[in-house]
């Protein structure tokens, strides 16, 4: 079959574009390590996952860091000493930082000095996913705000958009700062953003989030808001709950029982 020069040029051009995009697509794919696909139980399926933090129970365990340790160990979160570069998925924050609009001069003494557990709010109307220029972060149908660390270009627009400071950027290679690297969860590379994912990988294996499992005082209640009989709905039905910065319209799915 004879091929005209013009057609040949077109074909050659298209192949170059195709090869280039294939190359771009495969970057990162090789970095993925298997994220533990062994099924332990039936996957936990929800329509709108949410977390309730029982501050009354949490308050009694002053200084407890079990959930933070469990989360960070499970997800290979690096331990950088420098507060300017630290990466954190879940941590404790002063009350007036977590709830700036709830603070006043005569605030209950215990609340004022209390450290509040904070993490990604998995907002129903997340500003972070809206701004992402590559759809590297998005809201799943079950409400989890997910991150793709292999697609993230590290522009940090999501960090600027999050009103809760829930997102961390890898200012340098995090791997040397991981105490014990777990092989059933991917590590991250420098230059990408990361955050809490409500343990999507554990839900898929039928297990609750690591923080929930690690808390012996049952301060963390996880469940499906669409399920009227769920533990989260029961907690919200019977006790007064507040959310962080509700006025911004982000609809956080993390509730605090004060």
């Amino acid at each position: 079959m004879a091929i005209k020069r013009r057609d040949f040029c077109w074909l050659a051009g298209l192949s170059v574009v195709g090869a280039a995009s294939g190359k771009v697509l495969s970057v990162g794919a090789e970095e993925t390590s298997g994220s533990g696909s062994t099924l332990i139980g039936e996957p936990l399926l929800g329509k709108r996952w949410a977390m309730v933090v029982d501050l009354q129970a949490c308050r009694k365990e002053e200084g407890c860091r079990d959930c933070i340790k469990a989360c960070h160990a499970t997800h290979n979160v690096p331990d950088l000493d420098d507060p300017d570069e630290e990466v954190k998925w879940i941590w404790k924050e002063k009350f007036h930082h977590a709830f700036p609009d709830q603070e006043h001069e005569y605030l209950r003494h215990d609340l004022r000095h209390e450290e509040i557990l904070v993490f990604c709010n998995h907002c129903d109307n997340p500003p972070c996913t809206r701004v992402c220029p590559t759809q590297a972060t998005w809201k799943r149908p079950d409400g989890i705000v997910m991150m793709d660390w292999h697609r993230c270009i590290g522009c940090r627009y999501c960090v600027a958009a999050c009103p809760y400071g829930s997102r961390s950027f890898n200012w340098r290679d995090p791997r040397p700062f991981i105490d014990e690297t777990r092989t059933d969860f991917p590590t991250r590379t420098r230059g990408v953003v990361e955050k809490c994912t409500f343990c999507d990988e554990r839900l898929a294996q039928g297990r609750p989030p690591a923080c929930v499992e690690s808390c012996e005082s049952k301060c963390l209640i996880f469940g499906d808001l669409e399920d009227a009989d769920s533990a989260v709905r029961e907690a919200l039905r019977t006790r007064h709950a507040i959310r962080r910065k509700p006025g911004l319209g982000t609809q956080p799915e993390v509730y605090y029982l004060v």
Binding site: A98, R130, V131, T134, I153, V159, C162
Partner: protein
Amino acid sequence: MIEKALTGGRGYWIWIACTLSAIAAGAYCYVLQLNTGLGITGLSRDITWGFYIAQFTFLVGVAASAVMVVLPYYLHDFKVFGRIAILGEFLAIAAVSMCMLFIMVDLGQPGRAFNMILHPSPRSILFWDMIVLNGYLVLNVLISRASLNAERNGEAPPAWVKPLIILSIPWAISIHTVTAFIYSGLAARPFWMTAILAPRFLASAFSSGPALLILVCLFLRRVTRFDAGWEAIRKLAIIVTYAVLANIFFVLMEFFTAFYSAIPEHVEHFTYLYVGLDGHRELVPWMWLSAALVLVAAVLLVNPRLRDRQGLLTFACVAVVLSIWIEKGLGMIVTGFVPSPLGEVTGYAPTLPEFLITMGIYGIGALLITVFYKVTLSVRGQVKA
């Protein structure tokens, strides 16, 4: 035509060597940054955008300001700008190129930048910024190339150029509007979340850009046989005057809304800028310097008799460019992060590698401008022997 940039006097080559050394130093530091990560910069968990993004913001303004020459010349047939229209377009090309480089060096994973095209996200303002900046670059390259070719051959520019020029006018407005939208749509950052941000960006752009062009024209008149003409410079000075006044007005409106409403999260950012917050006063002297410069410039520019004196006009233009650079290139971006949404007050200063990378990109811009202007003036036979 590029060969015309390869001949020049001693001063020309010293200048080229300066830009090349700035580029080399910047390139070296960028390799360091690629190897270490953005931890090499002064950025941190709380202040995640800094010097790079601020320069990007300032330069989008310089790029957009070309419209202040193009619009009167092509739309109102204001012939006096005939000689400088192409200088404005070339300035825009260099500025947009620098903008894109500043975005690239700010990315944590620059190798994945093409993900923006592979996964287009129309809900993200950055996606639209990519489109308007690239579009503006292409428009200006096509327009200036065609105009210069026509000038060399002594013909009228081809007919297809005119619609592109008309299109480039609203397009110039769009690049700074979309850039303002990157910031002004974030509920998490009250300092930026103001509807007047885009108009403010445009006012500051239309003051600093034409001021820069006046300085360039005065400089070219000294070292080449090119003369923009005093009438053109006077008209540019009037544009600068109105834009400077509009910018001061807009900034005062921001002050009023923040301080009269007295909402703490709006007030705190201005407090950080002009007084300092929690012992952090890094930007305070700069901001007062910026305010002083722009006020002095306004006084000089408003008075026609002072404005018409070349020495005073030069001083006023330097003051305007410097003041707007401080406002956008130092204050505007970092302050959005101080205090953080959690109330943390963190300090920030660019590190040496960060500064050198920035200088490297400015070096690339200076080199581009130099080559463009050299070629243009050679075509016109206005280079000094």
